[in-house]
Amino acid sequence: MITLFRKSTIGLLLLVCLSACSERRDSSAPHDAAAITLTYWPAPNPEEIQLADSIVKMWNRMHPLIQVRMQPIPVSQSTEEVLLAAIAGKTTPDVCSNINPVALREYTQAGGLVALDKFSDFDSIAAARIPKDLLPIFKNSNGHFYQMPWKTNPVMMFYNIGMLKAAGVENVPRTYSEYYAAAKKVTRDTDNDGQFDIWMGERDIRPIWWERLFDVYPFYIGATNGETLFKNDSVAFQNVDAEKVFGFFQHCYDKGYFPRTFFQGGDPFLLEKKATHFAGPWEIATLSKFAPNIHFDVAPLPVPDDHQGPVYTSGDYKNIAIFSTSEHPKEAWEFVKFLVTAEHDLLMLEITNQVPVRGDLLTNPLYARYFSKNPMMVKFAEQAVHTRGMDTVADLKEIFDAISQEYEICAVYGRKTPAEAVGDAARRCRAIMEWNQ
C-alpha cells in the first residue's frame, strides 16, 4: 500500500519536474564545439527583424568561427520588463539592439551590462559616427558608456496636406497660435449631429505613461530649446515652459480640436478624421501601407509663439548593449561595430525607415539616393541632430505615470489650471524620487 502511494507521489513530482525542466530556455547552444555562438536580440517588429536577419547573415558568412544566432525579443508587454527579467534570471543574450536609454540605469544597477568604452576603439568609432553634441547624453552617470547609440526616431508632426488645404489653411502651423488658427478652420461637424467629427489632432485620453512621449515630452523639449525634465537628478520642469505645454493641450481639448474619447475601430489619421499626428518616422511605413493614396508631409512640432532658434524634439533612441553574462565580450564588440557601419546604417534606413544616429547622413554621398527617393526622411534626418533623450532617473515609468495623471486632469478634463497641474506633477515627482532614494 505504501509502495503504491509512494510511487504515485514520486510520479507526480517527476511529472512536475519534467515539465519545469523541459521549458527552460537555453539561450546559446553552439552548433559545433569549435565555433563561438553569440546570441543577438533585435526588437520584435517585422522590419527590424528583417534588418537583423540581413546583417546577421552577412556576418555569419564572413565569420565562420564566430556565428551569431538572432532571436527576436519575446513579445510580451515591454522589452524593458523582458530584459530585466532576463538579467535577474541570467538568461540574457550577448548583444541586444533594443536598449532604451531610459532603462539603462536599472540594467547597470543590476550589473547587467558591459562598459563599452573599455574597448580601445570605442572613442574613435563613436566620434566618427555620432554628432558631437549628442554623444554626452548617452554617457552614464559614472562617466562610462554602456550603450552604443544606434537609431533615433525624432517625434515630429505629420499632417494631411489635403485636409489642411481644403479647410483653407495656407501654411503649416509653426507656433501654438498658428496651430489654434488652423485647428479652428479644420475642426468641424460634417454630419450635423451636434458633435465634431473632423478634428485637428487626437491623442489617446487614457493616462498611459508612454503616450506622454509623443505629446508632453517632445513639446516640452521643443519649448525649452533642448532641456529635459530633470537636471542633476532633481525636478527641473516646474517652470513657465511646462505650463505653456500643458496649456496648449488643455486649449485643444477645451475647444474640441482634439476629441475627448479614444478610438477603438481604426486609426483616425488614416481614416482622415484628424489632420495632424505626432509620431516618428515609423509612421511613414504605416501610411504607405494603409493609406497610399493620401498625401502627407512632415514638419517640426509647434512651439510657443515667442520661440527662437531651431526646434528640438525627443529622440526615442534605441541603442546597442553587450550584457555582462556574455562569455565573449570582445567578439560581441566586433559584432556591434559591424552593426553600425555606414553601409548597414543605409540598410537600416532602407528597411526600417528609422534614422541612424549618424552625423553625416545628409553629407555622405552614400545616402544621397535614399534621401532623394524619401523626401519625408530628409526632414527626420535634419531633425535628428536636434533631439534629446530621456533622463536616466530611477523610476522613470512611475514619474511619467504621475505626469500623465496630472496631464489628464488638466488637459483632457480641464479640472486644474496648467500651473496647478505642473506644480502637482513636480511635487509628486519629487516625492517619488525621495521615496526611492
Partner: protein, 296 residues
C-alpha cells in the same frame, strides 16, 4: 486478546496512513501558504526590485502608504464599485429568479442563458463590453442614437466609468445569484404561503413578510461572495481603462499589480497587499457581525 491487538494495530496503521495521506498537502502548505505568508511579513519592511539585493527600510513602506492618495483612491473606488454592484446584483437576480420560479416553459433554457456569462472568461466579457461601451461606435450608444438620446461617455466620464464597470460585472455574475435565489426560493415551504393566504394576506405582504425574510440567508451569502469578488477586481479596469479616467477605476488589485510589476516596487506592493488584506478581513468580519446581530 487477538481482537484487541487487531484493533490497536488497526488504529496505529490508521495513524500512519493518515500522515502519508496528508503529506503532499503539508508540503504544499509549507511551500505555497506558509512560506509566502512569512516572506510577505519580511518583505513589507524592505525595498526590493528583484534584480538588486533587498534593502531594509523599516516602516517606510507604511509611512508612504499612509500618505499615498492613490492607494486611498483605489480603496474608495473599490467601495464605490461594491456599493453599486451589490444592490444591483441582488435586485436583478431576485427579479429574474422570481420570474423563473413559478412553473413555466423553457425554464431550463432561460436559466442556461442567464448563466452563460458566468462560465465565459472575464477577458471575453471585457473585450465585448469595451466595444459595447465605445463612445462613437459602440453598440449601446448606437442603440441610444436610434432612440434619439445623446451618446453617453460611458468609460470617459470620470463619474460614469466605475458604475459602467459595476454594470458589466453584474451582467457577468448575476447568473450565479439567480441560481442561488432559486434554491433559496425552493427551500421556502409552500405551507407558509398557504396559511398566509388563508389568513387573508395579499401577494405583496406575502412577498415582503415571508419571501424576503426567508431569503435573508441567501442574500447574506450573495453579499459575502460579491464582496470578496469585488475586492479582486483586476482584469476589467486593466483592459478597459488602465485605471482612468482620472483614477476613478483604479482598483486595489490593479494598483498593487502596477506597483509590483510595472514599477518594480516589490516591498511597497507587498505592504499594499498586506493592508489591503487587512481591510478585506475587516469588512468580512463586519459583515458577519451585522448578520449575527440581526434577529432571525
Amino acid at each position: 486478546m487477538t481482537r484487541k491487538v487487531n484493533i490497536l494495530r488497526a488504529i496505529r496503521e490508521s495513524e500512519r496512513n493518515g500522515y502519508w495521506f496528508i503529506l503532499p498537502y503539508v508540503i504544499f502548505f509549507l511551500l505555497f501558504v506558509a512560506y509566502p505568508l512569512v516572506f510577505s511579513f519580511i518583505l513589507i519592511f524592505h525595498r526590493w526590485n528583484i534584480v538588486t539585493p533587498m534593502e531594509w527600510v523599516g516602516m517606510k513602506n507604511f509611512q508612504r502608504l499612509a500618505s499615498d492618495p492613490q492607494f486611498f483612491r483605489a480603496m474608495f473606488n473599490t467601495f464605490v464599485f461594491l456599493l453599486i454592484h451589490i444592490p444591483l446584483q441582488i435586485a436583478v437576480a431576485l427579479g429574474f429568479s422570481l420570474l423563473l420560479y413559478s412553473r413555466g416553459m423553457f425554464r431550463g433554457f432561460f436559466r442556461a442563458v442567464y448563466f452563460l456569462p458566468v462560465v465565459v472568461s472575464g477577458v471575453v466579457v471585457t473585450i465585448l463590453w469595451q466595444n459595447l461601451y465605445s463612445f462613437d461606435s459602440g453598440v449601446l450608444n448606437s442603440l441610444l442614437s436610434i432612440v434619439g438620446i445623446r451618446k453617453i461617455p460611458w468609460l470617459i466620464d470620470p463619474g460614469l466609468a466605475m458604475p459602467s464597470i459595476a454594470i458589466m460585472a453584474t451582467w457577468k455574475n448575476v447568473g450565479i445569484y439567480i441560481v442561488l435565489f432559486l434554491v433559496g426560493l425552493q427551500n421556502i415551504p409552500k405551507e407558509i404561503y398557504e396559511s398566509a393566504s388563508l389568513d387573508g394576506a395579499d401577494k405583496y405582504s406575502q412577498f415582503f413578510k415571508i419571501t424576503l425574510p426567508m431569503l435573508n440567508s441567501t442574500m447574506v451569502l450573495i453579499v459575502a461572495l460579491s464582496t470578496i469578488g469585488g475586492f479582486s477586481l483586476f482584469i476589467e479596469p486593466y483592459v478597459l481603462t488602465g485605471g482612468g479616467p482620472m483614477q476613478s477605476t483604479m482598483s486595489g488589485m490593479l494598483y498593487i499589480y502596477n506597483q509590483a510589476f510595472y514599477f518594480g516596487h516589490m516591498g511597497y506592493a507587498a505592504a499594499l497587499g498586506f493592508v489591503f488584506a487587512l481591510v478585506i478581513l475587516a469588512v468580512v468580519l463586519l459583515q458577519r457581525k451585522v448578520v449575527e446581530a440581526e434577529p432571525s
